[in-house]
């Protein structure tokens, strides 16, 4: 089987409101930077392009089609799209390469969540007969999940506050982060509750922006002469859409996906976990069995800025960054989708050979 490498990652700043910018205007600066990083001109220089976005976020039908204007698609290119986080676009691209239909792929995700009321918009991803008509928003569902954790004594509010404080501090070194600062758990605990038991700081912010990754076969990465990380395993598993049928205090799908991706085959230096709520990071790190030897969310994670449909891809990109910077030899990137960690993807990244 062909080994697949990541050779580039770029992300825009996470901003609370990108103003008038449309999807093309959000994407194009990020693509310009990744083309420069990889040393290519445009999408003509890769074999496949796949994007992730969701038209519900900004309320514009077929926005992803207009996003193609950012690519340079004349003459026509091979292009695909997922109405999901672009981490799943990366998954599709890996399949494309493994099937021998491509040697390289550009993956990008973008989200402009500011035009709508995101927690309400996301209620429309729920089961359409029983849950969506009740307008159950994502924060309420997460709050119920956190309540179960607290009542069962699995976590404390201080544990949650520690997650937030670490995110804020780590984000100081992330130029694209939206929320950052030298704060302590006590500062967080002093905040009033928002949707009990969650405080505002337990919830990721609403952000606008985009990110992009370029992957290719290891042979191609060597030919391009770029530093790379190898995607040694990837899997994704989805749980029932009925939250009542799941153990919300655990993430069985994350654990299984990690096992299938081969996470247990070596040590994990770094983990980037897509936890939109502080207590979910605790669920995820326990499901993955992470120890203190693993640095969790050195970027600050999505509590520092959450680009819907791009943050999952960015988790993979952030692990790539740590590996090519020499801070880590092996890392795990996690992506989630759906309410209360319903659908989870885990990718394992390893250091590439030194060129």
């Amino acid at each position: 089987m062909k080994e697949i490498a990541i050779v580039g990652y770029q992300q825009s700043d996470c901003v609370s409101d990108a103003g008038a910018l449309n999807e093309v205007e959000l994407i194009i600066p990020v693509l310009g930077r990744i083309f420069e990083q990889v040393g290519i001109t445009n999408a003509q220089d890769v074999d496949f392009v796949c994007s992730g976005s969701c038209d519900y976020l900004q309320g514009a039908a077929f926005a992803f089609v207009l996003g193609v204007d950012a690519l340079g698609a004349v003459p026509p290119i091979k292009e695909s799209h997922v109405e999901m986080d672009a981490a799943w676009a990366l998954y599709e691209s890996i399949l494309k390469i493994r099937m021998g239909h491509a040697d390289s792929a550009l993956i990008y995700g973008f989200g402009k969540s500011s035009p709508g009321e995101l927690p309400i918009v996301l209620s429309q991803q729920l089961d359409p007969y029983y849950l969506a008509p009740q307008w159950v928003d994502t924060i309420s569902l997460a709050a119920m999940q956190a309540r179960m954790m607290l009542d069962q004594g699995l976590i404390t509010e201080r544990d949650m506050a520690e997650v937030v404080a670490r995110s804020r501090r780590n984000a100081i070194n992330n130029p694209h982060a939206q929320l950052k600062g030298d704060v302590t758990a006590d500062d967080i605990l002093a905040e009033e509750t928002y949707l009990s038991p969650l405080r505002r700081s337990d919830c990721c912010p609403v952000s606008d922006g985009a990110s992009a990754v370029v992957i290719c076969t290891v042979e191609k990465a060597k030919a391009w002469g770029k530093p790379y990380a190898v995607i040694s395993g990837i899997d994704h598993i989805i749980e029932s859409h009925n939250p009542g049928m799941r153990d919300l205090t655990d993430s069985v799908s994350t654990r299984k996906a990690a096992a299938n991706a081969g996470m247990g085959d070596g040590k994990v230096d770094v983990a980037e976990l897509y936890a939109p709520f502080s207590h979910q990071e605790l669920i995820l790190s326990r499901a993955l069995g992470l120890s203190e030897d693993t640095t969790i969310n050195p970027s600050g994670g999505v509590l520092a800025g959450n680009l819907m449909m791009a943050s999952g891809l960015s988790r993979i990109g952030e692990v790539f960054n740590r590996i090519v910077a020499g801070d880590a030899e092996r890392g795990v990137a996690h992506t989630t989708s759906g309410p209360c960690l319903q659908h989870n993807l885990v990718a394992v990244l390893d250091k590439g050979e030194v060129a």
Partner: protein, 171 residues
Amino acid sequence: MSEENEVITGIEVPIFLKYNFTAGASPTRFLARVKEGVLTGQRCPKCKQVYVPPRGACAGCGVPTEEEVELADKGTVQSFTIVSIPIPGNPIEPPFVVANLVPDGANISFIHLMSECDNADVHIGQRVQAVWKPEEEWDYAMDNIKYFKPIDEPDVPIEKIGKLPVTGLEG
């Protein structure tokens, strides 16, 4: 399932989502000029094609289009259709002409209505000009132009459609 149960074939679940939609930075500039009665396009720095209405990028080259150019309100019919059936929600009574029009100075067509013409005479290469609403009704909208009407200028040869300077065929 008991046979007495009525088969449910649908439920009503109305969805209301409120958005503060924005047109995009480039379309915003375009619409601001349309409100002043001026059509503008944006030129690609690589292939030099002029897009109207601009969206901020050259779809061919994948690069930002920043140079803004004024266009004429005269143009050429690139293609057209005669709509003979009523379109739901459209107040215009059929038959009417919908045309792909390239304004002088641009390379890409946009779609608008044609009127003040005999539908049977409409043809590719025909020269047209915008008929604007009264100035006091101008808004951030393409229907500041009511429609395009034929003008007394020679037809544009097929190979020159979409390639005219802002001064037109003679220019």
